[in-house]
Amino acid sequence: MSKKRIGIVLSAVPGYSETFFKNKIKGLQDNGFEVLLFVDQNQTKSTNLPCEVIIAPDFNVNLILKIIIIFKTFLKAIFISTKQSCLLYKLDKEDGISLKQRIKQLLLNQFLLSKKLDWLHFGFGMLAVNRENVAQAIGAKMAVSFRGFDLYLSPLKHKECYNLLFIKKVYYHVLSNQMKKILIERGVSEPMIIVIPPAVDVTYFQPNKLQLSNQQVEMVTIARLHWIKGLEYTLESLALLKKEGLDFKYTIIGDGEEFERLIFATHQLDIKEQVIFKGRITQAEVRKELQKANIYIQYSIQEGFCNATIEAQAMGLFCIVSDADGLSENVIDAKTGWVVPKRKPKLLAEKIKEVINLSEEKQQEMRIATINRIKKNFHIIQQQEDFVKFYL
């Protein structure tokens, strides 16, 4: 029996969490699947992956080059993927897509039509937009992963962007039950949705031996500097704690467009001395920072699930998170951490105080419960098995 072929579509070759992605590919390969990765050329950083990588032609070039690329792609559509191209054109037409858009989609998606696949899996919801018929055109099953931003925010920016997608026969992978609920509300049938939360390499993120004490409290957040991460609210709660005399240090790991907004907040809230912006660091450095910290905070406004919170729990940190979307499934309130209503800095400050004042017995009990739950429910092997079941 020949191997099942899975084509994964991403906007770029993963860079930051490349190890994680390599493991995922390897897990599928070990289970008898062949994996191909389709990416857009202009965002590609490296192709050092254990699978074939197919890069989309770059149409954002000067006019002459653009004409040449369009001509070459057109020839491919006519002479190489003739059948698939005709079918894609026909299916798009049946969906009422305009002639101009049909031709555009035919050219832009040509690189996806070149391979014979059993599954075409789009890594983010928005990657499947304007590609709703590609899988059918190549005779593959279609899967789409929703990660958070693409489900909660993209439809606000691009109104009705998933209307066509949601009426197609598509298998969905989401990170939380909350996301599953939203898809059902939007008309997707329940059996087509599978929840596979992110996973952590528990052999890498091993528990540390830290304990909360009355000395300086070290808190940490891993997040890109973006408003969805609720960092401004977090800083406001820390300012309240400083006023009450708490001695703490807070490290933010990650970079992003809102550095100016956040550093100004630390200045205005008079916590500049207590807050450290680490920027983007390597995974080994992340682990080191987590080892030093006592409390992990993820007070997001919007969050699909959050890998970093799982990593922090795997290391036995006390996690305080907001109730944004998947976070309240990530952390079980009062059992493996604490869930605080979002946009309420006063409540977050109260919760941090409460956690600092936990008895040693309670601290130990929580840590054991947290670490065990992560090992049991968020192990990378478990995730690989879930994905294998998804594709079978």
Binding site: Y152, L153, K157, W227, E236, E260, R261, F264, L269, I301
Partner: protein
């Protein structure tokens, strides 16, 4: 003296922001020769006293612009050109684009070169080598937070500020902030923004059962709209009927998400930018203007609201308390405090018409006493003349 003084108001683009354009108009009406340098965003018809030396933002027009002034300097000011070329080279600022920007300034050689945005100050410091006086406006983000986030910028300010001939501060608060970067206090003059009060004629109020709150300003985090929306959520939970319109924030994803997340779709509207006349009408039909900002110099929209006899609720950011006194001519609440905004709105709703009228009357007086266009223009002229007098300009 006035016929001989040449003043360059430099913001980089023509036309500039509303308040800078107001200053240009006011100065030119006084008969002074005003020079504008920069790229032409839109054609503007100024009066005869304004000389616009603008270039269109295409390679062709920029080349033409450079060629013209290169030739003029070569033929008539050769030595000065050589000197400028040497300076630009020493500052690694000698690309064609830099020459295209700097040559026209050297050719026209205004007496005052007034830079509107602090980040540009190092770039234009060379004008002092040619007996032009360098004036810098201290405005908003350039002083209040950019140097906090960018240590290199802060270092540049420390290097350049002591050499600036005069500073124009839009508020006392921003003047104080600039001294942290080496601006000598004795060189700073406070000149508040001003309005032409005649253009704020009374428009009949549109009565509405709901309490209409409006905010006006570009979609930017410093405007603090997220706190305003959190305050709206508190009002809604307390069953207080209201509507909230943010003019200028259309398409701002953070706010769109927050509105949906807090279930405020029926209560909050985000609009695109509006022309000044429409803004005046919006202000008049609103119960209050809310300024939830975390940072401002002095927000012009607050001055406009006060001139329009619309109640104002502002945070105490930047220089706002130099204009608005709590419960005297408006209302003030702390920054980053949605509870305080909500509480204050509830108090305002509870005021009787007489109280409200007293406050708007007082607000109008504040504008008449402190923020008229003529005050702003004469303040700026005094500033320019003082600099020139100090330097024995005849």
């Amino acid at each position: 003296m006035k016929n001989k003084i040449k003043i360059a108001v430099y913001s980089g683009s023509i036309p500039s922001t509303t308040f800078i354009e107001r200053l240009i108009l006011g100065l030119s009406n006084k008969g002074y020769q005003i020079y504008l340098f920069g790229y032409c965003k839109k054609k503007v018809k100024y009066n005869g006293s304004v000389k616009s030396i603008a270039y269109r933002n295409t390679k062709f027009y920029k080349s033409l612009h450079l060629l013209k002034y290169n030739l003029l300097l070569l033929l008539f000011k050769y030595k000065a050109k050589q000197k400028l070329d040497r300076i630009l080279k020493s500052k690694s600022q000698n690309a064609l684009i830099d020459k295209m920007k700097c040559y026209p300034v050297l050719w026209h050689k205004p007496n005052i070169f007034h830079v509107q945005w602090a980040k540009n100050i190092e770039y234009w410091s060379w004008v002092q080598e040619f007996d032009m006086k360098l004036v810098l406006s201290l405005r908003g983000a350039h002083i209040n937070y950019s140097p906090i986030a960018d240590p290199i910028l802060a270092k540049m300010y420390h290097k350049c500020f002591p050499n600036v001939d005069r500073f124009h501060a839009v508020s006392k608060a921003i003047a104080k902030e600039a001294t942290k970067y080496g601006a000598p206090p004795e060189k700073i003059e406070i000149v508040y923004s001003g309005l032409n009060l005649k253009s704020f004629k009374r428009i009949p109020e549109v009565k509405d059962l709901k309490f209409n709150i409006v905010s006006i300003g570009r979609s930017h985090w410093k405007k603090g709209y997220n706190y305003a929306l959190d305050a709206c959520s508190i009002l809604k939970k307390r069953n207080i009927p209201f509507s909230y319109t943010i003019v200028g924030a259309e398409g701002y994803l953070e706010l769109i998400y927050q509105i949906q997340d807090l279930g405020l779709q029926e209560d909050v509207v985000l609009l695109g930018s509006l022309p000044l006349d429409a803004i005046k009408k919006t202000l008049k039909s609103s119960s209050i203007l809310l300024l939830p900002s975390v940072e401002e110099g002095v927000a012009n929209v607050v001055l406009e609201a006060m001139a329009s006899e619309t109640l104002v609720l502002t945070t105490n950011c930047g220089g706002m308390e130099e204009v608005v006194q709590h419960e005297v001519n408006g209302f003030v609440c702390p920054i980053r405090d949605s509870n305080a905004i909500a509480e204050q709105i509830i108090k305002i709703i509870g005021l009787n018409d007489e109280n409200k009228q007293q406050i708007v009357n007082q607000a109008k007086k504040t504008i008449e006493n402190q923020h008229t266009e003529s005050q702003m223009v004469s303040g700026m002229l005094d500033l320019y003349i003082n600099v020139l007098k100090e330097n024995n300009y005849e």
